[in-house]
């Protein structure tokens, strides 16, 4: 699938960036008048003026408050990065513990074009045992159509010969319910085994095609 979509396009003034700008502009307008009123207003009103001056974003933030915000933000940035690193280490531990490479089998799903088939669900059987029955959300289908490859199933198998059967459910040409199966016999060796369920469009036959690829 050729995907030649471009990088983000700029926002028109009516959208996000101008809202950002608008906030600043209004703030500047507020900042314009605040110092004057604060200086000239009689005592009771000056309280309001000073409050306005303190909050006007057009003015630089009070040093203490600004640095406090920034310091807290920096601290949270570091913490978030630590969480990402920790989450990665936990993810790796889980996979290495539960699905060691010598027994791991992973089944991936990819979809190309998708004009003739709208995916609803996929059921997987390995050696006649159902191992997965997955119902897709529209967002996930879109993710597949954009070129994402879903890791649908990860499990363990002993080395030797096995059979994978995938059952695809969805809507085929003319919005009709469509149900097709594909199967493959594969050899599980010492390393991890990756299988890819590929859904493609057969343009000449105007039908979807289902294929299972054994990644050596």
């Amino acid at each position: 699938m050729n995907d030649t979509r471009s990088l983000p396009m700029p926002m028109k003034p009516a959208s996000r960036s101008s809202r950002l700008a608008a906030a600043l502009i209004v703030a500047l307008a507020a900042g314009l008048v605040a110092p004057l009123w604060a200086a000239d207003a009689p005592p009771p009103a000056a309280a309001g003026a000073s409050a306005a001056a303190a909050t006007a974003p057009g003015s630089p933030p009070a040093t203490g408050e600004g640095s406090a915000t920034r310091s807290l933000d920096e601290q949270i940035q570091d913490l978030k990065k630590d969480v990402v690193d920790l989450n990665k280490d936990l993810f790796m531990l889980e996979e290495e513990l539960l699905f060691p490479a010598n027994t791991q089998v992973a089944v991936f799903v990819s979809m190309d074009v998708g004009d003739f088939f709208a995916l609803d669900s996929i059921s997987l059987k390995i050696d006649s045992h159902e191992v997965s029955n997955y119902l897709y959300t529209p967002r996930e289908v879109t993710a597949l159509l954009k070129g994402g490859v879903q890791r649908l199933y990860v499990g363990n198998l002993r080395s030797g010969q096995h059979e994978l059967v995938a059952l695809f459910n969805g809507k085929g040409p003319h919005e009709r319910a469509y149900r097709r199966a594909a199967s493959v016999r594969f050899e599980k060796g010492v390393g991890a085994k990756y299988l890819e369920l590929k859904i493609t469009d057969h343009q000449r036959a105007q039908q979807p095609e289902f294929e299972i690829k054994d990644w050596e």
Binding site: V26, A41, D73, M92, L97, K146
Partner: protein, 649 residues
């Protein structure tokens, strides 16, 4: 291996990482984009799937893990750049900046580099890092197209003005050329910058130009109002009240800036002694929502103007009414402040946002239906507050993630213990088996069988491959041959010999006819034995390896689990602390804003009381000297110069 015909552009990935709407583009090569790439590693495709499905955090986790496992050898560079985009979209601008600094080299197409720096500049700007935002914009090497250039210029000007560098902003704006929309913004910003630089005379025609724009666009109508408001207040500030009325009266009465314009217009007239005229905008303002600071101000301005017009009765009535309204509002603020200060402000806010997600692009859309909510709109409109709220939301999401892991750690620990126990139970049997030389004996047996078969084939011993019955018959024939040979020579022996040869020939013919097929079958059986022996050997080696490595593997896993469990605890605790700090900080900001409102109301109330007392004193004096002349106007207006309205939104 490349995947069929699927091609992906990292440009799309990066653009989506930034959650910007992607746009269908022409299919010819574009020097501003990364070249289309084929997904060659399934795991890179999985990362993209998570990312396209909106699971940026999971995408980033998998991306980092798969990179460490080296499962994406064909996409190492793409993955790095995508990680930068993901860090950015998750609001981790510092990490994104570090990565972009390293990755956005000349190898990356210029257009991609420029856009990456541009979006980093935007997030830094929103987080209040104006210096970094400016520095990121400096990395942009060439034109990004008219629209993005305009936005970039706009961002730079804003960053400069935020840093109080008005002259630099003015120079930037004076050199700017763009579409009519962007020019309007640029002119407005230029006008504001000139005013801030004390150059009102130069600013006035520019702001007037924006303030008299002929447009139907809501966006530009708002901008027009803002220009007029800014110019009007700039005139008031410069004591040029006679000039302030014109721009202020151009502000729409139903727009978001109308209350401030009405207030300013009233003051412009009041400054000129035109109190009757001042009452028109102020009375209009007085009918509006008291939550607005300009409206609050009008509660003093109206009676002040009546006082100036010698309408002391009406003036007193309005002051009385103002006092009552201020008291009620002050009580409401007390209640709101108490609610906000309960330590759960952010949880209460986020509780309503069921679809809330993490990341930079998240925005709070709904407020809880609570008495304090009406006061929170102005607080929430503050960019710093929104950014802080995003941080809090992200921290809550991360706490949820680690809570899940915390539970898993117990299961992992139990799993390794079970494995260790199972290993200990199987160890004696395994050791006993490994001490035998079973594979060797089997391989020798196989070799013997192979040699026998070779000998049979070499000697064409067809009987050796016969069925048991055939072999028995062949053996019988051979025995009979010996017996016949031992008979005395004669006709009888010759007849027996002839008969036996006939039988032997028939049997040989039968055995020979099947010899090749049987030989083939034997070889096939040997190949099966070879395969089984190979599998046996592999298993034997694996068992030997497992025997040697399982104890250390289990120990290593146990150690990893223990270490990670400790890290989870530590990071959870830090997350809780940071959340609390963020909550306290934002709660403090919100409460301070509400207190400022309350203080302003209290100040107004005090002012109203003085004015009212003054009116009553004069009335009393006049009553004592009947027949009394009409009461003199109040001498202490609420504020001949009004307090600055609260920050407009």
């Amino acid at each position: 291996m490349p995947m069929s015909a699927r091609r992906l552009a990292l440009a799309l990935a990066l653009s989506a990482a930034l959650a910007w709407p992607s746009v269908q583009a022409a299919r010819k090569p574009d020097p501003n984009k990364l070249p289309s790439i084929r997904v060659q590693d399934l795991h890179y495709g999985e990362v993209l799937f998570q990312f396209y499905a909106g699971q940026e955090f999971q995408a980033l986790t998998e991306l980092e893990a798969f990179s460490q496992w080296q499962r994406m050898p064909h996409h190492a560079a793409d993955a790095d750049l995508l990680a930068g985009g993901l860090y950015l979209s998750l609001g981790m601008h510092n990490e994104a900046g570090r990565r972009f600094e390293r990755l956005l080299t000349n190898d990356v197409p210029l257009g991609v580099r420029n856009r990456a720096w541009f979006y980093l500049a935007k997030i830094w700007y929103e987080r209040g890092y104006y210096d970094r935002s400016e520095a990121a914009l400096d990395h942009i090497g060439a034109s990004m197209g008219a629209e993005l250039d305009a936005e970039r210029n706009h961002l730079l000007v804003n960053a400069l003005m935020r840093q109080q560098r008005f002259d630099a902003a003015i120079a930037q704006l004076q050199a700017f050329q763009g579409s009519s929309d962007w020019m309007a913004y640029a002119r407005f910003n230029l006008g504001v910058a000139l005013v801030r630089a004390g150059r009102l005379e130069e600013a006035a025609p520019i702001l007037t130009q924006v303030g008299t724009l002929n447009t139907n666009s809501d966006e530009l109508l708002n901008l027009r109002d803002k220009a007029n408001l800014a110019l009007g207040y700039a005139y008031l500030q410069a004591n040029q009240s006679a000039l302030a009325g014109v721009p202020l009266e151009r502000v729409r009465l139903n727009g978001p800036y109308s209350t401030r314009a009405l207030l300013g217009d009233g003051y412009a007239h009041a400054e000129l002694g035109e109190y009757q005229a001042a009452l028109r905008p102020w009375l209009e303002l007085h009918r509006r929502d008291l939550l607005d600071a300009a409206v609050q101000e009008s509660y003093l301005a109206v009676p002040y103007a009546f006082g100036k017009l010698d309408a002391n009765g009406q003036s007193a009535d309005y002051y009385e009414s103002a006092l009552q309204s201020f008291a009620t509002e002050s009580q409401n603020l007390d209640t709101a402040i108490a609610k906000l200060g309960n330590g759960h402000m952010l949880d209460d806010l986020l509780g309503e946002d069921k679809d809330a997600r993490y990341g930079w692009f998240w925005q709070l859309k709904a407020l809880p239906d609570a008495p304090q909510s009406r006061y929170l709109y102005s607080v929430l409109a503050d960019n710093d507050f929104q950014e802080g709220l995003k941080n809090y939301r992200d921290l809550a999401f991360m706490q949820g993630t680690l809570r899940h892991w915390d539970q898993s750690m117990e299961a992992f620990a139990a799993m390794t213990e079970t494995r260790a126990r199972a290993y200990a139970e199987r160890l004696p049997r395994t050791d006993a088996l490994l001490q035998t030389d079973a594979p060797l004996r089997l391989r020798e047996a196989r070799a013997r069988v192979g040699s026998s078969l070779d000998a049979i084939e070499t000697t064409a011993d067809v009987a050796a491959l016969g069925t048991p019955n055939e072999r028995s018959q062949w053996a019988r024939v051979e025995r009979l041959e010996e017996l016949v040979a031992s008979l005395p020579a004669g006709e009888e022996r010759d007849q027996a010999h002839e008969k036996l040869q006939l039988i032997k020939g028939a049997l040989y013919w039968q055995l020979d006819a099947q010899f090749k097929a049987r030989s083939y079958e034997e070889h096939r059986a040997l190949r099966e034995i070879d395969a089984a022996l190979e599998e046996l050997q592999n298993r034997w080696v694996r068992v030997q390896q497992a025997r040697a490595t399982v104890p250390s593997d289990t120990d290593a896993f146990s150690a990893r689990i223990a270490a990670l469990a400790a890290r989870v605890q530590s990071v959870r605790s830090r997350l809780a602390d940071a959340s609390q700090q963020q909550n306290q900080y934002l709660e403090g900001v919100a409460v301070a804003q509400l207190r400022a409102q309350q203080e302003r109301l209290d100040a107004y109330a005090l002012q109203a009381r003085f004015a009212l007392a003054s009116i009553y004193d004069r009335a009393a004096d006049q009553a004592g000297n009947a027949p009394a002349p009409p009461p003199a106007p109040a001498e202490a207006p609420p504020s001949t110069q009004p307090a600055a309205p609260a920050e407009p939104r």
